[in-house]
């Protein structure tokens, strides 16, 4: 992979910059569900995820005319923007919650709770929310967003080895927390 980055979004972006309505719709259809899903998995809240996705796109539209192909993939950049917006919100939550205990302190591996959870989806959401943020970010990028390890590491600003370590620890914690889920 030593060649210049071929950005699959480059052509679409240049048309977006010219205000081509079809390109705008195409880019939105291609990226909005992914960015919304990313924010949802980091924040665990659909409404906040919509706010983040909207803000990320406001920045993307602004960036379209200034986009320089070759520096970084647009998809990587957009993931980074959305992730930063998620971290802003997570930080604000922590500040607000300093006097009150966080509402979703999951006890980690709690076999009883895991087995009782009728809804696997809710159990996964709780287990993901209980992970340290960087582990959650790594799993969100690699498992849910299906980014390659190099791309995910670039989004997180870490080495591939560090990413792998975060993934391994995160997934082991999830396996323990979700034992009994099918």
């Amino acid at each position: 992979m030593g060649q210049a980055l071929a950005d699959p979004d480059a052509e679409l972006l240049s048309r977006v910059a010219q205000g081509d309505p079809a390109a705008v719709r195409a880019l939105m259809a291609r990226k909005l569900p992914r960015i919304h899903a990313l924010a949802f998995r980091m924040l665990g809240d659909g409404s906040e995820a919509e706010d983040v996705a909207q803000e990320a796109f406001v920045r993307a539209w602004r960036q379209a005319s200034a986009w320089r192909p070759g520096a970084a993939r647009f998809d990587t950049w957009l993931h980074r923007v959305a992730m930063n917006l998620c971290y802003d919100r997570l930080r604000r939550r922590r500040e607000v919650a300093t006097d009150t205990p966080p509402e979703q302190v999951d006890s980690g591996p709690a076999p009883d709770r895991g087995l009782e959870a009728a809804d696997t989806s809710a159990a996964v959401a709780a287990a993901m929310a209980a992970l340290p943020e960087r582990q959650r970010e790594a799993i969100t990028l690699c498992h849910y967003q299906d980014l390659g390890n190099i791309e995910a590491a670039a989004v997180m600003g870490i080495s591939v080895e560090a990413l792998e370590s975060l993934l391994g620890r995160g997934r082991r914690a999830l396996r323990a927390a979700l034992a009994g889920q099918r």
Partner: protein, 142 residues
């Protein structure tokens, strides 16, 4: 890297990237495939454990995006300029017109400067630090 992959390394990769080897980093897939031939049972067991977790994780779906979000995103998107505007700017005439307008404006300011208080336009022209900024200020929202 063509060195033989160990079972320990295979387990680390399954732990990190899950039970589907096609989703593993491309530079380790060949080594993994080789080990799967040499150690079919042990590797299958590790992939099964990782795959079970993948399956559980996949049941957490993101909700569909709302029509309101789509509308808000579209509303913020860049808009195309009218064809005649694009043509004028493309030929450079737009910049010329703005320059001429600015020159006329400044001349007016000089001529009438001692006679009348500054108008809004003069304030805008004085505050603009470049032709582009001035063009935007004079043309309004493009």
């Amino acid at each position: 890297m063509n060195g033989a992959m160990t079972l320990e390394r295979f387990e680390q990769l399954a732990d990190a990237y899950g039970g589907d080897v096609t989703r593993w980093p491309s530079d380790v897939r060949d080594g993994a495939a080789e080990l799967m031939v040499l150690e079919p049972e042990a590797t299958a067991r590790l992939l099964q454990v990782a795959g079970d977790l993948d399956h559980v994780l996949d049941q957490w779906r993101a909700p569909a995006i709302s029509a309101g979000l789509q509308a808000a995103v579209l509303a913020a998107a860049p808009r195309a300029r009218a064809a005649w505007t694009r043509w004028i700017w493309g030929t450079g005439l737009g910049a010329g017109l703005v320059a001429a307008g600015a020159a006329g404006l400044m001349a007016g300011v000089v001529i009438s400067g001692s006679l009348a208080p500054a108008s809004d336009l003069e304030v805008v022209a004085a505050a603009a630090s470049s032709y582009d900024e001035l063009a935007t200020a004079l043309a309004g929202d493009v």
